[in-house]
Subunit: 443 residues, 2 copies
């Protein structure tokens, strides 16, 4: 859901190059991964009660070490200021006593969620008497590569532990001191509970080559989740041989159908665009059926403009803009852009087909919404728009794990493999087929 | 499930290199993929009845074109003989009238299976009144890269179509003439039913660079499934930026526990090793608890040796071998080898822990079985062995889609992401979140 990314792009070009890893760092990171693998086995068979008590213990330890963490964070902040970090980034990097408490509380909330491990996904007795079950089990070793916000360190560790996995963390260098202190606190708390400290390991000490070694530790790392901006995610996807889940890019559309109630449509686009900008489920383009344009667009553009949204429109849109609202001409770049800001592209389309075609051309497959009173139009939109989430008469902002009742969320996947849309704890597990027989052999 | 692979390894080294694709071929293959994407939209909203009728029409067309297909196949066989292809491979490449009928029948069996598309995976009404459903939908475009057996061309097309996907085929050059003819027949049959021929496309004409372009067509191809030997699979995994599902490597273990009934254990290892060699769910290593060794191993080794199984054993095993049975000393290479032949490694272990540790060290995570009468031992084995399938008192040969009641199978996944173990039609789908509101906005 976050958008800023301070890992510089690597020097290696484009989609087909993979950087050569450093042999020494590779060996060290593989050793880290092997220790994670070993530690993960202890957790794989832990009960939910044991895991939840551990999450509470980690939360307690963080609060107890709050002073230490804030001191380490001050070093990161000082370095950030020296390096000219923006106020926004500095704010996201900042930890205070209250923020540490909030981070610890997130672990306690995780403890309250059901445990996905052990769930029977399918099961039956086969005609030959074999008893077959498909059970949810932990992945094993999960890697997380993320940007500077130090809360992600705790969040990632908590999500991994709750789902029975060991975690290897690679945080942004801007938060190095905070992350080191937090990791040390978490590891000590694990040990104090008789669990392997190696359930939580950091490879920050190995710098960028360490990150590359992690991406290529196939067979040792079961899943890699990048959390951060588009550049970070692209880099991880392109350079990994380890399975990756791509998260977060949202070029999100709201389509106002011919039959839409204008007031509802204004409410939905205002919520989708302005309730929180800079998140992946915020709207970036508004499509309006020409039959609805005259009764909807003037009010919508006035409301959006009044809320400080910078507007780019096609000719049909600009013709309907109130005089008080500036709408600059939209280009293909506007249709392609995830603004992540108070900025919106607006286009009048001649039909539902044209709206669907626009979405097919420009969407990143995250979330699209239709506002309509026409059942057939809603059904076609749902069937033909190929995105992780499709909303009918609801804001795109609902594409969110907690809003959809899944509890904590690792991210929003825009890929089709393994997880699509909000990813909860279950998406950090895999399955195992367990078959019981009585000496059954295959005829 | 197949094991021989006639794509030569590429010249590009190891796990971190990716070959540079050919620009012209890349553009052509991307164009193919775009046409597949377009065609897939037509199928995505087709009913099960329409898809099943199409599968029957394809089957009819294949049988009608049987003569043509067998003639084309004769060209492949002649080329194979010229190139010194082994008898086994020639047999797998051969198509006869009867074999074409069998291939067509497989399409009719697919038609009889339930349609995964449209299944509601999860659904609820949220406290705020939003109605939320997670539905199964087709992936979109599925790529298949496979070896010489031309039946895979039909099989892959059928599986993809039944699950609502367009398919791009890259077959082995050894079967080029057969595959070209089959693809032409399938495409014509699709058109005759008013469906886009581009639902089934081949990129064989673009040779190896075409395969590489397919592996790197991220964003255009939703899933790539390699079917073939270990080299093919490794190449695809390492060179792809498109999501891949790894299938098929099975270094499979049978562990005979201290409490095992010796007769049951002999039946299970005989079935697991000899019922069919050369398949990924056949046993490759037999582990025997030392307490069971004396009453089990002499009979087991005699039975295995009598069935022509070449045996490699540790010292404990060799000491218990009947005089008539030769057991050569086993090395680490034996523990690591997936023989895919009438050959077995045998080791006596001192405990269940030692057996689990051996499996952790050497298994490929496909299938392992325990033969035991001890409940606690069975439960520890199931919990601690981290493989796609774990059998208790049943042959490892049951790890198979049709044996486990899933119907047709695309392969057996040994990875943890998206699909683990036998992959059926559902594994060729993804999900879509569909949310209905009444003007809901996020507070």
């Amino acid at each position: 859901m976050t958008t800023t990314f301070e890992h510089a792009a690597t020097a290696t070009p484009g989609p087909v190059g993979r950087p050569q890893p450093d042999a020494e760092v590779t060996a060290a990171v593989q050793d880290v991964a092997r220790r994670s693998q070993k530690a993960s086995r202890v957790l794989a068979t832990a009960t939910r009660a044991e895991k939840d008590q551990t999450l509470h213990a980690l939360a307690d330890a963080l609060v107890a070490a709050s002073g230490e963490i804030v001191t380490a964070n001050a070093e990161d902040l000082a370095r950030g200021r020296e390096n000219g970090m923006s106020d926004g980034l500095l704010d996201r990097l900042t930890l205070t006593g209250d923020r540490v408490v909030a981070i610890a509380d997130a672990l306690r909330e995780l403890a309250a969620l059901p445990d996905p491990v052990g769930e029977v996904v399918r099961g039956q007795t086969l005609p030959n008497g074999l008893r077959m079950r498909q059970l949810r089990v932990p992945m094993g070793v999960v890697g997380m590569i993320y940007e500077a916000r130090p809360n992600v360190t705790v969040d990632a560790a908590g999500l991994a532990l709750k789902s029975g996995n060991a975690v290897i963390l690679r945080g942004g260098s801007a938060a190095a001191s905070s992350n080191t202190t937090i990791t040390t606190v978490l590891r000590a708390a694990l040990e104090a509970r008789g669990l392997p400290a190696d359930l939580v390991q950091s490879i920050d000490a190995y710098g960028r080559p360490g990150g590359i070694a992690l991406m290529q530790a196939r067979g040792l790392v079961d899943l890699l989740v990048p959390r951060g901006g588009a550049d970070l995610i692209r880099t991880v996807v392109e350079q990994s041989t380890v399975p990756v889940i791509e998260t977060g890019t949202g070029n999100v559309h709201v389509y106002v159908d011919a039959s839409a109630d204008p007031a509802t449509a204004v409410e939905i686009i205002m919520n989708a665009k302005t309730q929180r900008v800079g998140v992946c489920n915020a709207a970036e383009t508004l499509l309006v059926h020409s039959d609805a344009a005259e009764r909807f667009l003037p009010a919508a553009l006035a409301a959006l403009g009044g809320a400080g949204v910078v507007l780019h429109g096609d000719e049909g849109t600009r013709a309907l803009a109130p005089e008080s609202v500036e709408v600059t001409p939209a280009t293909d770049e506007d249709w392609a852009t995830e603004y992540l800001a108070a900025e919106l592209a607006v286009r009048v389309v001649g039909s539902l087909d044209e709206a669907i075609e626009h979405i097919r051309t420009w969407s990143s497959g995250h979330t699209e919404a239709i506002v309509t009173r026409d059942l057939a139009a809603s059904e076609r939109f749902v069937a033909e728009v190929d995105s992780a989430a499709v909303m009918v008469n609801a804001s795109t902002r609902f594409t969110d794990g907690s809003q959809l009742g899944m509890g904590a969320e690792i991210g929003i996947s825009t890929q089709k493999l393994h997880a699509r849309g909000p990813m909860g704890l279950a998406e950090l597990t895999t399955t195992k087929w367990v078959v019981h027989g009585d000496g059954h052999v295959r005829p």
